[in-house]
């Protein structure tokens, strides 16, 4: 069985899956940047108390699962999401979904994802892919970060659907419920809602750890990493920061470029001139994140390492925080 489904590669797994699952009902209008922006994808968060792979927990995007949910909510589309305690029931539900002609979004862990290069297989459980058919024992997989379609045997798929640890997927499948055609007016309203929510998410979230404040906070912390952690560990922490910022799924610059692309597309629906200029601010932010990454690489490769180098690294983040704060303030001031 193979459903009529066209694989499309994207930068980020969840916004890619969202865009693909909505392709039919939106006539392809919900592109990846639109899904990312309407789904309020842009974020920053640094939680010093939580360790991931023995490094700091840093995120440049919103919590897994929210992009699909918020995009559908903003467009008035019901979301079907199921979790399972039994592996047999999880597979039966997936098969039932396929038999009804519905491609299914799946949350999976990447540690046992056989087509991923070994270097990328950490215990990360919030990867997303679409299952769109089954031929003999092989499930047909559209993984948004891959150029072409791939396959997983039923055992391999079961193993990644039931990966354990933080954010364990529990066999989760999700897809949009009954959808009428999505109109341009619906998209316009959803865009405005998405932008407003993202402004709140970055400017008004309480505490030091998250939003634009969180970026500046991390910058200040980094300046102390050299003394506190020692050069080697501080280097490993910076490498972790760069991986979260640039590794597959971000589109580059810690998702800031995708967001800049979203604002350009948002202009086409809302005709707010300001969006084009604000988009440039996010491009600048993405560029600055990447400049900081090059500097960080100097430290973790041992070319740099003085306290002045760490101060410079921290200052980059403080600069980014200022830039993004201004960009979001500008978005806040738009009269829709």
């Amino acid at each position: 069985m193979k459903l009529d489904f066209e694989h499309q590669q994207s930068a980020h797994c969840e916004s890619g899956v969202t865009s693909s699952l909505l392709r039919k009902s939106s006539g392809g209008k919900i592109t990846e940047p639109l899904a990312f922006g309407i789904g309020v994808g842009l974020f920053f968060c640094y939680i010093p108390l939580i360790k991931i792979n023995n490094g700091p927990a840093i995120a440049f995007r919103t919590f897994p699962g929210l992009i699909f949910k918020r995009t559908c909510n903003a467009l008035g589309i019901p979301v079907v999401r199921q979790k399972f305690s039994s592996k047999e029931k999880a597979e039966a539900a997936l098969m039932q979904c396929l038999e009804h002609g519905q491609p299914a979004g799946c949350q999976v862990g990447v540690y046992y994802l056989s087509y991923f290069p070994r270097e990328y297989r950490f215990h990360f459980n919030a990867h997303n892919l679409i299952v769109f058919g089954k031929e003999e024992d092989q499930y047909l997989i559209s993984d948004p970060v891959m150029e072409t379609v791939t396959q997983l045997s039923s055992y391999e798929l079961e193993r990644v659907r039931f990966a354990k640890g933080a954010l364990a997927p529990k066999g989760q499948i999700y897809y949009p419920g009954d959808v009428a055609t999505i109109s341009d007016e619906q998209i316009r309203k959803a865009i405005i809602k998405g932008i407003k929510n993202n402004v709140n998410q970055m400017l008004r979230i309480p505490g030091n750890f998250a939003g634009v404040k969180g970026i500046a906070y991390t910058g200040k912390k980094i300046k102390r990493w050299r003394d506190k952690l020692g050069l080697q560990k501080a280097g490993s922490y910076l490498a972790q920061l760069v991986r979260m910022q640039e590794e597959i799924g971000t589109g580059g610059g810690g998702f800031r470029y995708i967001y800049a692309a979203f604002l350009q597309e948002a202009y086409a629906y809302t005709h707010q001139e300001e969006l084009l200029d604000i988009s440039k601010l996010f491009t600048e932010a993405g560029d600055l994140w990447r400049t900081a990454a090059v500097h960080a690489a100097g430290i973790y490769k041992g070319r740099l390492g003085s306290q002045a180098d760490f101060d410079q690294m921290g200052d980059y983040l403080i600069q980014v925080a200022e830039l993004e704060k201004n960009a979001f303030l500008a978005l806040k001031q738009i009269k829709w």
């Binding site: 994207s10 930068a11 364990a168 470029y257």
Partner: protein, 135 residues
């Protein structure tokens, strides 16, 4: 980032698939460009794996010195912490910490050993001897 500035350094992912980057064209409009990788992040990934390898070697030495059980070695080898291993085996974390002691590990029942072997995707015999078959 401009389209022509999208880096094309060959990274580990680039051997299997190119990845989508968002970048601007000559008129400033956003478009996507495929990239084979970027040196800066390849090096970041290398650092992560050097750390992992150092921890594996360290764990192996501890087991050989009789300071830890092979569970510690396989935890590091499979990049697991006590939380992840606890989820895979169903053992409480404090029990796993006990099982990290060689003298406790030696007395484990076959059933418990099998749970560890399953979690580490290996056999009980290989678990006991710290034998790995994958590169």
């Amino acid at each position: 980032m401009k389209k022509e500035q999208v880096p094309q350094d060959l990274g580990p992912l680039g051997k299997i698939t190119k990845e989508v980057c968002y970048a601007t064209d000559s008129s400033g409009k956003y478009t996507t460009e495929l990239s084979t990788g970027w040196e800066v992040k390849k090096e970041a990934l290398d650092v992560a794996w050097q750390d992992v390898k150092a921890r594996i070697a360290n764990a192996k030495q501890k087991v050989l010195n009789g300071e830890a059980s092979p569970v510690l070695f396989f935890m590091e080898y499979r990049l697991m912490d006590a939380g992840i291993l606890s989820d895979y085996t169903g053992f409480w974390r404090w029990r796993i910490k006990r099982h990290l002691k060689p003298e406790v590990f030696k007395k484990l029942s076959e059933k418990k050993l099998q749970k560890y072997a399953d979690a580490f995707n290996t056999s009980v015999a290989d678990l006991k001897t710290m034998t790995v078959h994958e590169a």
